[in-house]
Assembly symmetry: C2
Homo-oligomer: 147 residues x 2
Amino acid sequence: MNKYYYTYQEFIKDINSISLPPFDALIAIARGGMTIAHFLAEKFETREVYVINAISYENEKKLGKPKIFNIPNLENKKRVVLIDDISDSGETFVEVKKTLLEKYPNLEVTTLALFYKEKTTLIPDIVLHKSDKWIVFFWDKEGQNVN
Amino acid sequence: MNKYYYTYQEFIKDINSISLPPFDALIAIARGGMTIAHFLAEKFETREVYVINAISYENEKKLGKPKIFNIPNLENKKRVVLIDDISDSGETFVEVKKTLLEKYPNLEVTTLALFYKEKTTLIPDIVLHKSDKWIVFFWDKEGQNVN
């Protein structure tokens, strides 16, 4: 598959362009959403930034469904923005959202990603780019020394 | 106070220079440690990257002690690296470490930060720079468009 190197410079442009609806907390899906959520929390001046873990692979083997754990405490939160780098198959977003809503049925979840793929089952509510290339993010091991 | 702008380019050099002892999980202190932990997790190819929340300010008012919450599940983990951007007064590291050890008394905690200040009560086990300037990180709101 063709690779696309997503650089820090593009990321800064993207962060600048993002508007968010009113929210009570930002929730990053680890690992992919961590840097984005950090930058958005600083941009929008909130300390309400949490992380949830979702693991789709174990020892190189794809799990049937992502394992989701370390669910943050969202009592008293109503509107959250759920953040990942890419909506690839869409499965991670779908499962994390389901898990959050099982625990907090009244939560309003807005999904946000930088990229989505044609084949995804969940096009994020806020999303910047569509690409069917293999995205190498600047935080990926391979991307860390590219720009 | 003099400001020092810590750029993405310096950060990449720093990430490249970091070696870690054997560990079972990386734990970022939010917000400051999130981007560092993300890059280190990718560099060292681990999905075991968690986040703990520590809040020292509420409505611009400094709290007596940082409020620590969303403690990740560390059952079956022995050695963790606790990550923040800076050890300023040292209080956040001290309190987060104490909280983790109260819940997991046998945990071996290695602390890591990019910067520490002369006055800190906790010089991190792994730390790259000493500075008594006000550090503007590239992920800070003010730093996001500097480089």
